[in-house]
């Protein structure tokens, strides 16, 4: 009886063992791969792909949180394209992009190029440039806002009056407000770009420079003929990375214009702030979803341009 029982108990286990053992190494690997990927796939489907599809669907409805979404075709898009505020916002978003990206990248490259040759206090100077990257935009937005205040509070106007120059309205002016909001955004991102440029510069083999010097090339020629071409992958990465950042600007604008978000007179309002207000202040979820589809399209175009430029290079 005893051995029989033992044998009985063994059989199913042995069978399953044999089944697992019979699988080839490749099949076993595949089984493990899918076990490891099960939870991540559920996450990416449930928290990324499904919501994306849902955003597209909602953009075709009149959903407003209260009643069930009703299909209205392209009405939201028609409404958006007929809305002058949308075009103002569209223009602002591109202003952030076409001012922010070139200014910050030229500055960052210039600083990194010089910083790369500096040995004395290199780490300390690098840290000074990098520190703003670690700050919270929600907090620093308020610091900059205070800087921009009129006298007697604002430090910048204080400095201007000390120099004997005229006072500036900054955030209260419809023309100066957007650049005034852009400055802290550039300020906060510059350190990251400098560090990436520094890494890119270090990756260029010294032998190239030595060969160029032996050939008698000047500093300017070396920069133009060796440094910049070899730095292209880094530059393309930073152009796309910071373009996407400027197209999605929100934290600075929201915190620097809280009493009239995106003001004065929508002069600083970017697309993301418009989306936020449409969705979570007026609860026009369907309309807001249509705006997010536009943002998605713009970002997609920027990414595709990157892919195209990178392919051309290799």
């Amino acid at each position: 009886m005893e051995p029989a029982r033992a044998a009985e108990g063994l059989v199913p286990e042995a069978k399953s063992l044999r089944f697992w053992d019979r699988l080839g190494i490749k099949t076993k690997q595949a089984v493990w791969a899918w076990i490891f990927l099960a939870l991540p796939i559920a996450f990416y489907v449930g928290i990324r792909f499904y919501p994306t599809a849902q955003a597209f669907w909602l953009s075709l409805t009149d959903w407003n949180l209260l009643r069930t979404p009703r299909f209205i075709g392209l009405e939201n898009y028609a409404k958006m394209f007929a809305d002058p505020v949308f075009w103002k916002v569209f223009q602002n978003t591109f202003l952030y992009l076409i001012l922010g990206t070139p200014i910050s990248l030229v500055l960052a490259f210039f600083i990194a190029w010089h910083l790369d040759r500096v040995r004395f206090m290199h780490g300390f100077i690098r840290a000074l440039y990098f520190l703003p990257f670690l700050t919270t935009a929600a907090a620093m937005g308020w610091v900059w806002r205070w800087f921009y205040q009129p006298l007697p509070i604002g430090a910048i106007n204080g400095f201007l009056s000390w120099l004997g120059l005229a006072q500036q309205p900054f955030l209260r002016s419809t023309t100066q407000a957007l650049p005034a909001v852009l400055v802290p955004a550039i300020w906060a991102g510059l350190g990251f770009q400098i560090i990436i440029f520094l890494a890119g510069l270090r990756a260029i083999p010294q032998t190239y420079y030595e060969a160029a010097r032996i050939d008698g090339l000047g500093e300017w020629a070396i920069l133009r003929k060796i440094t910049l071409p070899l730095l292209k992958p880094t530059t393309v990465f930073l152009v796309v990375f910071s373009s996407i950042g400027f197209l999605r600007i929100f934290d600075q604008v929201y915190n620097m214009t809280t009493n009239d978000p995106g003001g004065p007179l929508n002069a600083t309002k970017p697309l993301v702030l418009m989306i936020y207000q449409t969705a979570f202040s007026s609860y026009q979820m369907g309309y807001a979803a249509a705006q997010t589809v536009i943002l998605f399209t713009i970002l997609l175009i920027v990414s595709l341009i990157q892919l195209y430029v990178m392919r051309e290079k290799t």
Binding site: L37, T136, A139, W187, A199, Y209, T258, F296
Partner: protein, 280 residues
């Protein structure tokens, strides 16, 4: 450094001095907002109009007042908890995905990789409305989980980790397999320690990103007690709109933790940013 550079370095040229001076001044300008923030946080409301950088009569009164209120501490702890939990989740799951995609051969691998990578193109702003709907259906609004769930895994992290796991030699993993280690143990005990620099880079990015995150926490939280530090600072500042010294104190309290972290881990942070930027 090459001999050529050292030779030219010995000869101190005026151009070099000028470049160094300009870089230094530029660095000071970069630090000015932070310096003024700390300076003003040490002033009384009467001294705010005095624009001198060094306060005439520095006081910690503002800090005492802000911290006594208790809300800041709560927001600080919320942010700490959320950023830590999300970072741990990213370290585990992003590396699991990266490892599997780098080291396993199976049908559908390329498809999974491309699918995950393609989510990088989807902006958060597009997802917040469906996330909000999802959160309200599942009762996640105004909860820690509601703030955390969208960031539990990241395609950027998975991609970064895949790049690094590809540099781990297969022989090590095979040897462990022959020794009878389970696949799970091979990943956790053999492969993970070999990509420690990448893990620290990912940890820094993930923590910093979640510590400063503003958009989604602003949307998903409504009760003060659940605010993260950035959302808390923003609402606190909007309410005390005239009291600049208090606003600067709040902003300083939000900045001090990352500054301390930076001073302690400067080398790792800079290296991590470089690693992630070049590989990512």
């Amino acid at each position: 450094m090459s001999a050529g550079l050292e030779a030219s370095g010995r000869l101190i040229r005026p151009g070099r001095i000028l470049a160094w001076t300009l870089l230094f001044i530029g660095g000071l300008i970069m630090a000015t907002p932070l310096l003024y923030m700390f300076s003003t946080s040490l002033k009384t409301s009467g001294q705010v109009y005095d624009l001198r950088l060094i306060p005439a009569d520095p006081t910690l009164k503002n800090y005492v007042e802000v911290l006594k209120d208790g809300r800041f501490l709560r927001w600080f702890l919320n942010s700490m908890l959320i950023a830590t939990a999300v970072t741990l989740s990213n370290l585990i799951f992003d590396s699991l995905v990266g490892y599997t995609l780098a080291k396993f051969r199976f049908r559908g691998r390329a498809l999974v990789f491309i699918a995950i990578l393609s989510t990088l193109m989807i902006p958060t702003e597009m997802l917040v409305i469906p996330w909000y709907l999802m959160s309200s259906q599942f009762g996640w609004l105004d909860s820690y989980w509601g703030i955390m769930f969208p960031g539990m895994m990241s395609a950027f992290g998975a991609f970064l980790m895949k790049q690094f796991f590809e540099t781990v030699p297969d022989d090590f993993l095979e040897a462990a397999r022959v020794d009878g280690l389970s696949e799970f143990a091979i990943w956790w005990r053999i492969a993970m320690p070999m990509v420690a620099p990448a893990l620290s880079a990912l940890a820094i990015f993930s923590f910093l990103g979640n510590w400063t995150a503003f958009f989604w926490p602003l949307i998903v939280t409504t009760s003060r007690d659940l605010y993260t530090l950035p959302v808390g600072i923003s609402s606190f500042s909007a309410e005390s709109s005239i009291r600049w010294e208090m606003i600067m104190t709040g902003a300083a309290l939000g900045t001090i933790p990352t500054l301390i972290l930076f001073l302690l881990l400067q080398r790792y942070i800079v290296r991590g940013v470089m690693l992630a930027g070049l590989k990512g």
